[in-house]
């Protein structure tokens, strides 16, 4: 039998004005197990807390009920107080007689009765409380960043800067991501490479950072502070530690007709290649789909020419396992495929390009060295039509229901750059809305209109027809209420952006949740925007939703600070109110594991025979308290009643129900 003390707070007059606190204390003293009951002006005050402490010692209390304000307010305060005199903090319950009683009722009699009932329910619960001790787990002081774009790079640099080790896993042969493909950045128009490549170099030279390029995450085990991650290093057929990146092989390889991914297939590369001059690591990679040697066994030019002897045609995929305390997801985005948008003739004319392709066409490192010409006939375009929201804000099957966020600004940038470099070009931008919230963003847009004379037209292009060497653009101008027919030389489509295809399988590996658009869900949309609901998994960049470079960098920094906060701890103290399974009742059906959003439940086959001789083996559930967040979904799903939740056990809640309905 517990020895329970009840403490009723007046909260000045907040409670005492409508609740007869004396009567509450007196009545609750009659409850079985209650050996002490009192009331006081302000229980949360120093004196009030001392009163509780003294009573625990004097009365030898084993449990405490505080009738006061909401537990959301002072539960932690009171728990600390009882813990100070050696009582387990989870032996305390708070009856909410302020927010949920005195403040909402006027009739003293009614309110007092309700307060007594709420107090009774709390007493009934305390009777079933058991001391809980929060578990501790050690933290592996190393972070994994998945994705080596600007989000991953920034996050890794910030974590490394705080003195922790970081590994970057990047699926491409080089880090840098989409930003390497971008020519200029809005709203300052500084060159993307110029601001990115120094960071890439920093990443390569930082001794706390290790880059696994051309690699993928293939398995994730463990939980916050203790992840074990399997990494596949894809065979690049070049020894990374020996290759000097001289690039000779990439000039001599006889297989010249390999679509160049870096330029989005707008030109070709060799079968052995270094993606671009500033690649990190600057190491050649053989494209196995095109290499004659790998396909037919005949050629070997690169091997002969390589003075370092770095080529290794027999290289195999390598699989390794590493330990991490935290994982950052920075898998980024891709423009959607435009196959389903053939009204814009994307697949019918090479002169209809996506904005990212246009970026390459404008870039000094692009296929034409930055001289803007049409892909079809290499003539300078004189009329360019930009179409915004291609696939964005679209609720039909082929589109994306969200705003891709970056298109308004980059289209504006493209339009402006066209007019600046080629002043005799007519530039039209068809928009539904121009969305430019951001520092100096709207000013940037207005400059395009006012200073660069870009024709912004509210309306949408309905159809693009390639006819002769022109692209016939049919569109509406909603403000003048006209249908426009423009003979364009190029059409640039602002394709919606979507989460990278690798994100969905990765989310499954991480048991991190995603929304219907395959963007990772944050733990709280406003207050925990860089954490995944899965403890120890953090989000940076477009993996979480469309965002531009400044926002991505901001988020990556925030993400790093969260990771540092985690890695700075030697141990993690868990929430002790977690689920636990009664092995004797569990029938190993997996129902609980299926409903668990965190993957906290695993199964083990245990020997239940008395002599432990393996004659009675059963599969039983086991909850990892470090991963369980204590929602209790499994406790209800469990068909045999084996699952229960500490702090909110079935019996405790039942006893509260009983107390209330009595």
């Amino acid at each position: 039998m517990q020895r329970i003390g009840v403490f009723v707070c007046h909260c000045g007059t907040n409670i005492a004005a409508t609740v007869d606190v004396k009567k509450v204390a007196e009545t609750l003293l009659q409850e079985p197990g209650v050996v002490y009951a009192t009331d006081y002006q302000y229980m949360c005050s120093e004196a009030g807390q001392n009163m509780i402490k003294d009573a625990i010692k004097a009365q030898n209390l084993t449990g405490v009920v505080i009738c006061s304000c909401s537990p959301r307010m002072h539960e932690a305060t009171f728990r600390k107080a009882v813990a100070a005199v050696g009582m387990n903090p989870y032996m305390l319950e708070v009856a909410n007689i302020r927010e949920q009683c005195s403040w909402i009722h006027k009739n003293i009699e009614e309110a007092t009765e309700k307060a007594i009932i709420l107090g009774r329910a709390a007493v009934a619960k305390v009777h079933l409380n058991a001391p809980l001790i929060a578990g501790q787990t050690p933290v592996t002081k190393r972070a994994l960043v998945i994705g080596g774009g600007i989000a991953g790079i920034q996050c890794a640099l910030d974590i490394a800067d705080a003195g922790y080790q970081v590994d970057i896993v990047e699926k491409e042969p080089t880090v840098g991501g989409k930003m390497t493909k971008i020519d200029k950045t809005f709203p300052t128009l500084d060159c993307s490479s110029c601001i990115l490549t120094p960071k890439m170099v920093d990443v390569a030279q930082n001794e706390n950072i290790k880059i696994y390029s051309y690699s993928e995450v293939e398995s994730v085990k463990g939980f916050v502070g203790n992840f074990t991650v399997g990494i596949k290093r894809k065979a690049r057929y070049v020894k990374e530690d020996i290759c000097t990146g001289c690039g000779l092989c990439t000039e001599k390889c006889p297989q010249k007709k390999v679509p160049n991914d870096y330029n989005l297939g707008l030109d070709t590369k060799r079968a052995i290649y270094i993606p671009f001059a500033q690649a990190v690591p600057k190491v050649a990679t053989i494209d196995a789909d095109y290499c004659t040697m790998l396909k037919t066994g005949k050629c070997g030019v690169c091997s002969k020419i390589c003075t370092a002897g770095a080529i290794d045609y027999t290289q195999q995929d390598e699989h390794l396992e590493e330990q991490y305390g935290a994982i950052v997801v920075a898998t980024g985005y891709n423009p959607i495929k435009l196959d389903a948008f053939d009204e814009f003739a994307y697949s019918q004319s090479p002169d209809v390009v996506t904005s990212l392709e246009f970026e390459r066409l404008m870039s000094a490192s692009g296929p034409n060295g930055g001289h803007l010409v049409r892909p079809s006939d290499h003539k300078e375009p004189k009329t360019i039509v930009f179409v915004q929201c291609v696939g964005s804000r679209s609720t039909v099957e082929c589109g994306k229901p969200y705003c891709s966020k970056i298109c308004c600004m980059y289209t504006c940038k493209h339009a402006m750059l066209c007019r600046e470099k080629y002043p005799d070009t007519e530039v039209y931008v068809f928009y539904i809305d121009v969305r430019t919230p951001g520092k100096n963003y709207d000013e940037f847009y207005r400059r395009a209109v006012e200073e660069y004379d870009v024709h912004y037209i509210k309306g949408m292009v309905g159809k693009v027809c390639p006819e002769g060497d022109k692209l016939k653009v049919q569109a509406s101008d909603l403000l003048t209420n006209e249908q426009l027919h423009i003979d364009a030389d190029m059409v640039v489509l602002a394709a919606a952006i979507e989460a990278d295809k690798s994100a969905r399988p990765l989310a499954t590996l991480l048991t991190a949740s995603m929304d219907t658009n395959d963007f990772f869900t944050e733990a709280h949309a406003k207050l925990r925007p860089v954490e995944s609901p899965t403890a120890g998994v953090f989000l940076a960049g477009c993996a979480q939703g469309p965002k531009d470079i400044p926002e991505t960098v901001t988020q990556a920094g925030a993400c790093a600070s969260k990771v540092i906060g985690l890695l700075a701890k030697d141990h993690l103290v868990g929430n002790p109110c977690v689920a636990h399974s009664d092995e004797m009742m569990c029938n190993g059906c997996s129902t609980c594991a299926n409903v668990c959003p965190y993957g906290a439940i695993t199964y083990e086959t245990k020997d239940f025979s008395r002599r432990k001789d393996g004659t009675l083996m059963r599969r039983v559930a086991s909850v990892n308290p470090a991963v369980c967040q204590g929602c209790g979904c499994c406790t209800v799903a469990c068909p045999s009643g084996a699952m229960d939740l500490y702090g909110f056990s079935t019996k405790q809640i039942m006893s509260e129900v009983d107390a209330i309905c009595k």
Binding site: S70, P71, R72, N96, R98, E99, Q100, C101, W103, I104, H105, K106, N107, E110, A111, E113, K114, I117, L118, A121, S513, T521, P533, C577, V595, P597, Q629, G630, C631, G632, C633, T635, V636, A637, L645, G647, F648, T650, I653, M654, E656, V657, D658, I660, C661, K662
Partner: protein, 147 residues
Amino acid sequence: MQVEEKEFKPTIVAFCCNWCSYAGADLSGTNRLQYPANVKIIRIPCSCRLNPMFILRAFQRGADGVILCGCHPGDCHYTTGNYYARRRMTLLFSMLDFLGIEKERTRVEWVSAAEGQKFAETMNDFVATVTKLGENHRLEDLRCKKQ
């Protein structure tokens, strides 16, 4: 002999999710929005912690109505808990209906931490509905009857 008719005050149990509705109830308190005293709130970590047994127990012990408040769909603190709760309650409520406990005596309502107003309105409405239905005797365990 005339029996003085006592005003019927139903016993209502409200299960509230710690992250949203419980805070919503606190907010309606902070804003001094009144609702009847016969509503007693039990705090649970998530609407998915609500075992159907708790509701059966409540009716057995003489409750006249039971309401579950959770986070709005899509807003669950634990990502998916409220979807499970919604499915479970749909099944339970239709079974209770079959057993003669009117559908109006049970309810699931989504109340966020910011919806103090909605919490009070919901409770007022629910109490009024249950009051109209009168006492519940179905499932009641006579041994638990109030003297």
